[in-house]
């Protein structure tokens, strides 16, 4: 069994901001079932600020915990601030992850960025 920190286990057992947002301002899904990791992020945005964020995860404990931590970190941030958050920030906040699990933490950030891009692209046409 891979060793996880207490904080990772806590976020795995009690994920923050779990679920869906009805009529989100943006949503994005990354990863694939074949890879064993998949995530959907939903955003509610007001004045370029993330006022609400929720996620769903098909994935391992590291995937769930990093997604949960990511939502905690970016909730309330402006889109510009949120875009600067890296996978390293999230892993550090969790007290580290086994190296083999780093790719799982990438997925949380990738999905967030994809959702923000989707939001920004949706504005272009307006």
């Amino acid at each position: 069994m891979l060793k996880y920190t207490e904080l990772v286990l806590d976020h795995f057992k009690n994920p923050r901001n779990l679920g869906r947002i009805e009529n989100p301002d943006a949503e994005a899904t990354e990863g694939s079932i074949a890879c064993g990791d998949m995530m959907t992020v939903y955003l509610k945005i007001e004045d370029n600020r993330i006022v609400d964020i929720k996620f769903e995860s098909y994935g391992c404990a590291a995937n769930i915990a990093t997604a949960s931590m990511m939502t905690e970190v970016v909730k309330g941030l402006t889109l510009e601030e949120a875009k600067k958050i890296t996978w390293k920030d999230i892993v550090e906040r969790l007290g580290g992850l086994p190296p083999v699990k780093y790719h799982c933490s990438n997925l949380a950030i990738d999905t967030l960025r994809k959702a923000i891009s989707a939001y920004e692209e949706s504005l272009v046409g307006r």
Binding site: M1, F12, K13, G36, D37, Y58, G59, C60, N63, V100
Partner: protein, 390 residues
């Protein structure tokens, strides 16, 4: 409640076994190669112990038993030892797609020594494809290694038919099986199955870790894989791990006494466990065969829409310990090859959970496991963006 359902990985050592091990550490600690009384006594006891193990598999002589440091060493001695010693006759080896990681790694190493290896596929239940097997044999085939019981999906391989096919060939092909999941759990007769080499691991049946044996049929051309001073057996030099060997013998005695009864009892529990999971949890697939083709010690299910590492960690937090075939739980990040070999896709491999029993597994433990499993599966499915109805 703590429930350990990863008994295919290892089992708890029984107090009766520990008592024997302790005795052979504290009192009867001599090696078999001294010229004094206590050493001679150990020598005689090791011969007696070989006789005991030979009898348990219907071998004809105690000299056909070689003690090793476990299943991996037994597999190494069998495959490397026979392949190298018979290289002049041919360079082709046949294995099944469900071999244990240890055999797979050994044949990879043999390929680098110039051997050719054919991996014979299994069907959707994990049974060896006998037609493909027969086709794989060549005039240069010197060795066949087929696992006795698929350790991930629980399929009991058709060893008898394989032995018959091999005996019909016009040249000698050595027949090895890794019997880690068969020995002391179901009958194993090397004459009936026409086996030349059998690997056994002590800690799979409540014996100590770090001990096992290899059965080597008389007349088998085999080279040692280690070199050193001969204490007891020149095929495997170095001092024997006497306490562990004696402990393994005690564990085998206890297991064999109850073998038939355990088999029957676990078969009932297995049916009950499978029935409960299939009727109480939606979107599950049993991996491996049903009924008599399956060892009663193994149940393996895939749970759709969720991932096995999260399931196993969730169960572990509830006190239930199991194995998973998810890529995320392996260092290599590869999905379980056994699920892929039986025709499953990546999702089925990622969502697979293996529950393996020991003869001490109880109905109460399985009831507890089903309750916790329902809770964890439900919870992870709520989290998952994949849903049945979407």
């Amino acid at each position: 409640m703590k429930v350990f359902l990863d008994n295919c990985r290892t089992t708890r050592v029984l107090p009766e076994v520990i008592k024997e091990v302790e005795k052979y550490m504290l009192e009867k600690f001599a090696r078999p190669d001294g010229l004094y009384e206590s050493a001679q006594a150990i020598y005689d006891e090791l011969v007696e112990t070989r006789k005991f193990f030979a009898k348990t598999i219907n071998a004809s002589s105690d000299e056909e038993i070689v003690f090793t440091s476990g299943g991996t060493e037994a597999n190494n001695l069998a495959l490397l030892g026979v392949a190298r010693a018979n290289k002049k006759r041919g360079n082709h080896i046949v294995v099944s797609a469900l071999e244990h990681g240890s055999v797979m790694s050994i044949v990879d190493a043999l390929k680098k020594e110039g051997f050719e290896v054919t991996v014979v596929p299994v069907d959707h239940e994990g049974m060896l494809r006998l037609d493909e097997f027969e086709k794989a044999l060549r005039p240069t085939t010197i060795l066949v290694s087929i696992i006795a019981v698929g350790h991930f999906v629980g399929s009991i391989m058709p060893l008898k038919q394989i032995g018959e096919i091999l005996s019909r060939q016009d040249h000698k092909i050595y027949f090895h099986t890794d019997a880690a999941e068969m020995y002391a759990k179901m009958p194993l007769d090397v004459q009936e199955l026409k086996l030349d080499l059998v690997s056994v691991s002590g800690h799979k049946f409540h014996g100590p870790k770090g001990v096992g044996f290899l059965y080597v049929r008389k007349g088998t051309k085999i080279e040692p894989i280690m070199y050193g001073a001969e204490a007891f057996d020149k095929r495997r030099p170095g001092g024997e791990n006497v306490p562990a060997i004696i402990g393994m013998r005690k564990a085998a005695e206890l297991a064999l006494e109850q073998m038939e009864e355990s088999y029957r009892r676990l078969r009932e529990l297995q049916d009950y466990f499978i029935e409960r999971i299939e009727s109480e949890i939606e979107h599950v697939v049993l991996n491996g065969p049903r009924g008599e083709k399956r060892t009663p010690y193994n149940v393996n299910f895939s749970f759709s829409f969720i991932e096995g590492e999260a399931i196993s960690l969730g169960l572990s937090l509830e006190g239930v310990e199991v194995a998973t075939g998810s890529a995320c739980a392996s260092e290599s990040l590869e999905p379980n090859y056994a699920i892929l070999a039986i025709g499953g896709d990546h999702e089925r491999a990622h969502g697979s959970i293996r529950f393996t029993f020991s003869r001490f597994t109880t109905k109460e433990e399985l009831d507890y496991t089903v309750e916790k499993l329902k809770k964890v599966v439900q919870w992870l499915r709520n989290i998952s963006p994949l849903k049945a109805e979407r």
